[in-house]
Structures are given as structure tokens and as C-alpha cells.
């Protein structure tokens, strides 16, 4: 696997910052879920910030994995914030009929960390 394809999983304060590469292949995507859930269980973090700002291509497998991972993180008591989705990816996501449920989305990682640092949300998303 070349370095361009690698996922970065970093703990920042009390959240897990996971950054996806530009064009992840299926094994990288599978890796995303495994590593995120591992880190969720081994580290005491409040939630997940998934940085998609580098992602240029979204396929149905990737979309489903993201949506499922968010649900799993939620079951483990964490919140997921998706950051930096590009317009083209967002259009693909609507075409694929992706459902993100209560997962929050923000434009930048910076904003995501701001949100994650706030008190746990009371159901409805806060901006």
C-alpha cells in the first residue's frame, strides 16, 4: 500500500480524527471501519471526526461503510462528525441515496473540532 492510500487515525483532545486518502481502494475502506472501531474501544474518546476533504471519488461501498461506521460509533456511545465533503462527492452521495441519519456534517476539520469540544448535543444538531 503506498502512503497516498493510507488512512491517518490521530487522537486530538477527546476525539478521534480519521483522515481518508484521495482515492481509497476497498481494502483501505475496510481498514477505516476496523481501525476506527478499535481506536474507539481502546481509547477514551468522545467521538469521531471523519475528514473527507481529500476524497475525490465516492462509490457505494465507501458510502455504505461511512454510514455504517457512524452508526457503529454511535452504538459505542460516540458521535460522528463528517468534515470537508467536496461538492462533487456530495452530489454523488445524494445520487447514491446515502443516509447519514443524525451524523453531523461540517465544512472544515477546524469547525468539527469546535463542535466536538462543545457539550454533548441534546438530540438536535447545534450550529
Amino acid at each position: 500500500m503506498n502512503t497516498n492510500e493510507a488512512i491517518s487515525v490521530v487522537r486530538v483532545r477527546n476525539v478521534l480524527l480519521v483522515t481518508m486518502p484521495a482515492d481509497p481502494d476497498d481494502s483501505t475502506i475496510t481498514d477505516l471501519q476496523a481501525r476506527t472501531l478499535d481506536a474507539m474501544s481502546s481509547q477514551d474518546v468522545r467521538g469521531l471526526v471523519l475528514d473527507l476533504s481529500r476524497v475525490e471519488i465516492l462509490d457505494s461501498y465507501f458510502a455504505r461503510t461511512v454510514s455504517e461506521t457512524a452508526q457503529m460509533v454511535s452504538l459505542m456511545g460516540g458521535n460522528t462528525i463528517i468534515a470537508g465533503m467536496r461538492p462533487s462527492v456530495a452530489i454523488t452521495a445524494t445520487e447514491l441515496g446515502v443516509t447519514l441519519g443524525r451524523t453531523r456534517t461540517v465544512m472544515t476539520v477546524d469547525r468539527a473540532l469546535d463542535l466536538a469540544g462543545q457539550a454533548p448535543p441534546r438530540g438536535k444538531l447545534q450550529r
Binding site: I82, A83, G84, M85, R86, P87, V89, A90, I91, A93, T94, V98, L100, T105, V106, M107, T108, R111, R127
Partner: protein, 292 residues
């Protein structure tokens, strides 16, 4: 129009510097040799080049010795040549006296230029066809200006189709007027998403006051746009939901409960400011508005 001339093409003494310049024929010769904007040349009855003034060489790149006697089809694009355009032009000029056309022509080096071409049948005093006069003008610059204007028109039209205006830091307004079809909604989605990321705006006010009716398909497009906007981390506030529109949406069974909707743009703007944690208050005596 048929041009009557006394000399036949074979007798042309073009480019001969020793000619005395007193006759009008010679003055005409000097004109065709020196004029820069037009290439004025003659063809024989079969369409082969018989005269080649310097202006023609400048425009088309062929030297006199390599083009005299060649068929004029070498100036045409491959497609035009194959479609028999050259012969048709001579046929029309023979029949009607004149043929005019604007289109792409090819230089010796293969580059194209946009040309205005006039072909005139040349007949002698008895009315016998002696050849053709061909006037070519390079209009590439004009063509480019036209293209630019057309592009500007397209841009203006796009702005009219999907206007996206920043009304406040972090707030974009899309005042939609007229019917929303699939193509337009697609354009709307793309433009709005790009403008939102460009300006890092968090709220888009989608105002449908000027949209006459909404059908299931339009509503579906709007819902998709709202979703896509949410994916990139922004929020749509749908404003201008008139009573008729509200009735239609409910009767169609369109579920817009996931979106924020308001009757007027003003109340939508209030929602947008609130989402950005801004609030508007009247300042003391002058009554000026202040946003904090």
C-alpha cells in the same frame, strides 16, 4: 452580379513591375497586389488558381510558384472538400453570377482561419465564362470577438438561471424565479455547492417565491439539493413557501420535514442569522441596524 472584363485570365500580367501605371487596369492590378485585408485572386473555369497576389500569400501561406495551377479546394477543410462544397460554390457562382460564404478555411501550414469568401463569375463581352474572381477576407478576429460575446451571454444567462448572491458573511441567497426543471435544478445544485465551499458559507437561503408551481419531480430535486448541501456541512433554509405551494407539497405527499422552511425571505434570513449565532438589534438614537 456578373463582372465583365476585357482580358481573359491567361493574359493577366499580375505582379509585373515594368507595367506603366497609367491605365485603370493597371491601377486595379496595383490594388489587388497591395491590399492587405483581402486576398483577391482569379481561378480558371475549372477552379484552378491563375493569379496569386502577395495578399493571398500572406493570408494563406502558399508561394505563387507552388499554387498557380492548383485547384482551389486546397483552401478548404477536409470535410468541406469531401462534401463537394468547392464544386457547389463554382456551380452557384456560374448560375447566379455570385456566391458568398463564411466559414473555416485552411492555410498551407494546416491552421484554420474564419473567412468571408465571395466568388464572382467572370465573363467576357460575349458572355462566355472565362473564370472566377475570388475574394477572401480573414475574419478570425471578428469571429473570436463574437465567440467571446456569446460566452458572456451564456454566463449572464447562467447567472439569470441560477443566481447565487452572498447576502452576509456565511449566508448565500438563491432567489429562484420561473419553472424549475431537472436541468436547471442540477445546475442549481452544482453552482450552490461550489459557491458555498468557495465562500465557506454555512447557510443557503433558497427562495422559491418566484417559482409558480411545484410538482413531485421538482420537490424531489429540491430535497436532493438540501441533502447535498447538508453533506458539505451547510444548511438550506427554504423560503417563500406560499400557501398554494404549501398545499401542493402536502397534497403531493412531499416530506420536507427534514428541511427548515419559512413563508417569507425575511423570516428565513432571521433563521440564517440565528444559525450563525448572530442577532440583529436596533442601535440607540439613530435607529441604525447593528449585527453582532
Amino acid at each position: 452580379m456578373t463582372l465583365k472584363i476585357e482580358t481573359v485570365p491567361g493574359e493577366h500580367r499580375d505582379g509585373d513591375p515594368k507595367l506603366p501605371p497609367e491605365t485603370s487596369q493597371n491601377l486595379l492590378q496595383i490594388l489587388t497586389d497591395n491590399i492587405k485585408e483581402y486576398a483577391i485572386l482569379t481561378l480558371d473555369t475549372n477552379g484552378r488558381v491563375t493569379t496569386w497576389p502577395p495578399a493571398a500569400e500572406r493570408l494563406k501561406g502558399y508561394r505563387k510558384d507552388e499554387i498557380i495551377g492548383k485547384h482551389f479546394s486546397v483552401f478548404y477543410t477536409k470535410e468541406d472538400f469531401e462534401s463537394g462544397k468547392c464544386d457547389q460554390e463554382l456551380d452557384i457562382a456560374t448560375r447566379e453570377g455570385r456566391f458568398e460564404d463564411e466559414g473555416w478555411r485552411v492555410r498551407k501550414d494546416g491552421t484554420r482561419f474564419w473567412a468571408n469568401v465571395v466568388i464572382t463569375a467572370l465573363r467576357d463581352a460575349k458572355g462566355t465564362l472565362r473564370g472566377f474572381g475570388k475574394i477572401t477576407r480573414d475574419l478570425t478576429a471578428k469571429k473570436q470577438v463574437e465567440e467571446m460575446l456569446r460566452q458572456q451571454n451564456r454566463d449572464v444567462l447562467e447567472m439569470a438561471t441560477v443566481p447565487v448572491v452572498q447576502v452576509w458573511e456565511g449566508i448565500l441567497l438563491v432567489p429562484l424565479i420561473g419553472t424549475l426543471d431537472s436541468a436547471r435544478t442540477q445546475q442549481l445544485m452544482e453552482r450552490l455547492l461550489h459557491r458555498l465551499t468557495e465562500t465557506t458559507s454555512q447557510v443557503a437561503l433558497l427562495d422559491i417565491t418566484g417559482v409558480p408551481t411545484i410538482d413531485t419531480q421538482t420537490a424531489q430535486h429540491l430535497i436532493e439539493t438540501i441533502k447535498a448541501v447538508r453533506y458539505i456541512g451547510a444548511e438550506v433554509v427554504l423560503t417563500g413557501v406560499r400557501p398554494a405551494i404549501a398545499q401542493t407539497l402536502v397534497h403531493l405527499g412531499v416530506d420536507l420535514s427534514s428541511a427548515t422552511t419559512r413563508a417569507s425571505l425575511a423570516s428565513g434570513l432571521r433563521v440564517a442569522l440565528k444559525l450563525l449565532s448572530l442577532h440583529v438589534s436596533a442601535a440607540e438614537p439613530s435607529g441604525r441596524m447593528e449585527v453582532q
